[in-house]
Symmetry: C2
């Protein structure tokens, strides 16, 4: 069987317009040096034929390489959460690098705002064509996106969003709703009147995203007329010792704590504390499919993990930039990831 030839190409357009294919190419890519008249004629024919460019041929012939930047926190000894998006990025890279797409990696330190700004500057100097980033430091991210926007460099956010910016897209969780789901999961093991502890372990002070999670959680309790007292503990020093100290204090003050919700992936740190202090009957819910978390999930110390497919976020982010830059494909401004519920029973088949 042979390929049928229902699709028209540049050659046919050129023939109908009585011009050369070079001129058609110029119009196709909005390059200068074509008279308005020919341009108009060619555009009409393009529309008439519903011309679809052959990306295969285009990428094959093109000598241009497209450079993308991935700009996320460095994997640290404390948490390797950001390894997942990176895996997704690499998976995307493997698929498209033959087609002239290169990806440069830029990492910043979650505990160091300056490292973010330094890397942001480097990205700018590198002259990339698009950026996939985690807007962890909100104000700095805003500035960076604005600068990119001036240069017409598309930027996609993952993991958390900064609304009302000139970013091409956001790919990540609906944080409010994810807190809402977390609250539901918490309640499965709870008696009606005991206290709930919300633990927020992060050096970040803006903490824009944690507020949304917290609000989602509280909304659930309100919507269901649950009267449990909700206590909040903020822990700025993210090491185990500091976490243990804060938790010990909280348990001293509040005897009736029977459920803990950790607002990010550092739930393993709380699990370690619970394991050591042999507090067994406490419901524990947190975020993210990290190796350490899974271990505690298996042991029954963590009850549920909420996950937002970080690997997929990285993969989709790169692919969206690629589609947008190479094929001028439209990209939806917000793409919410599923709110996945991972338990001991289904973790084996979870696809990060």
């Amino acid at each position: 069987m042979e390929k049928e030839n229902t699709h028209f190409g540049v050659k046919e357009i050129a023939r109908r317009a009585n011009v050369s294919i070079a001129t058609v190419d110029r119009v196709l890519h909005n390059r200068i040096g074509v008279s308005e008249k020919t341009k108009k004629k060619i555009n009409e024919i393009i529309k008439e034929l519903d011309y679809q460019p052959n990306i295969l041929a285009s990428r094959l012939a093109s000598k241009k390489i497209i450079t993308l930047a991935i700009f996320i926190p460095r994997v640290s000894a404390e948490t390797d959460f950001w390894d997942a998006p990176l895996r997704g990025v690499k998976r995307a890279e493997a698929e498209i690098k033959k087609y002239g797409i290169h990806i440069h990696h830029f990492f910043f330190d979650l505990n160091d705002k300056e490292s973010f700004q330094k890397q942001a500057k480097l990205i700018f100097e590198a002259g990339v064509n698009g950026v996939l980033m985690a807007p962890t430091f909100v104000d700095e991210a805003r500035q960076f996106v604005e600068a990119c926007h001036q240069e017409k460099i598309p930027v996609i956010f993952i993991d958390s969003n900064v609304p009302e910016q000139h970013n091409l897209s956001y790919i990540g969780p609906h944080l409010f709703q994810s807190g809402y789901v977390g609250a539901k999961l918490l309640t499965y093991r709870m008696k009606s009147d005991r206290k709930v502890l919300v633990v927020n372990i992060t050096a970040e002070t803006d903490a824009y995203s944690y507020i949304q999670i917290d609000e989602g959680l509280r909304s659930y309790f309100r919507d269901h007329h649950l009267k449990n007292e909700i206590i909040r503990v903020d822990i700025k020093d993210t090491d185990d010792l500091s976490v243990a100290r804060h938790l010990t204090e909280a348990f001293h003050k509040h005897e009736e704590i029977e459920a803990i919700f950790v607002t990010n992936s550092r739930v393993f740190s709380v699990a370690r504390f619970l394991q050591k202090s042999t507090k067994s009957n406490i419901a524990l819910v947190g975020y993210d499919f990290l190796q350490e978390n899974i271990q505690f999930l298996r042991e029954g110390i963590i009850d549920f993990l909420i996950c937002h497919q970080p690997e997929e976020q990285g993969y989709r982010g790169i692919m969206a930039l690629y589609q947008n830059l190479v094929m001028s494909a439209p990209v939806e401004k917000i793409h919410f990831m599923p709110i996945d519920i991972v338990t001991k029973e289904n973790e084996a088949f979870y696809q990060n």
Copy 2:
């Protein structure tokens, strides 16, 4: 910036082997008409250079079109479950049809074994290059796969598996574990000693897959030393009336039923019954992200839906065939899908 040229192509291989690129091409595709000696030499160079073919160029130059068959149940008035895999197939098709991949659709009737065999015959006569299918009728599927295997036509199963066949791959749930997860979800709302009703609504008599789900469910109760009596009802006539009749009977016989598990997507049918008979305090868990099921989930009549991303199964199945046929990429024999837990709270963001 220009593409760098680190990758070697057929030209370089030909140069090093002192042959023409046509001969290299012959070796690359295991075509006949090359002396053992040249073949060996070329293969050595291919290995040495770690040659990676440029699929872009390959598909562009090739005149061959590849035809795939999708072979699944027809969407019926009773259930539109199979629309999801079909959407995935169409999404894959949209991505790869420009590259000479065509997909033919073959549907059979879930209540009619003969329709399966008739379509199977048609697929064979159509001379397709690969098949993505649901092996709903186990024995017939076995025969079909064997026949395809003789003709070296790769076959991929989705949704349910038939083990030990000559299929290229299975992409779908681990049914035992999915029943196990279902049991866990059931127990959230249960008092300790009441009865559990397992409802199996299907015209299919082999019911190979339902057995595995059932076993998973019972295992959970055993593993957790739960003494609840588990009653099983099989309903061959899949209409609402028949379902209502069987359930009424079950509730008469067993007063203490407080949880129902439906082994497939027809949980909406049970939900309708519960809604009408105003039995409110019964936990209900079933399968699949159908519009009707979601409605009952929102209303709180269904507590949980277990889902296996049927759309993704269709998409991946086609892409795996494509990778295998076009780039001779290896395909894993079994790919288990995640066991997703969908609730009222997270359904809005679920990606089928």
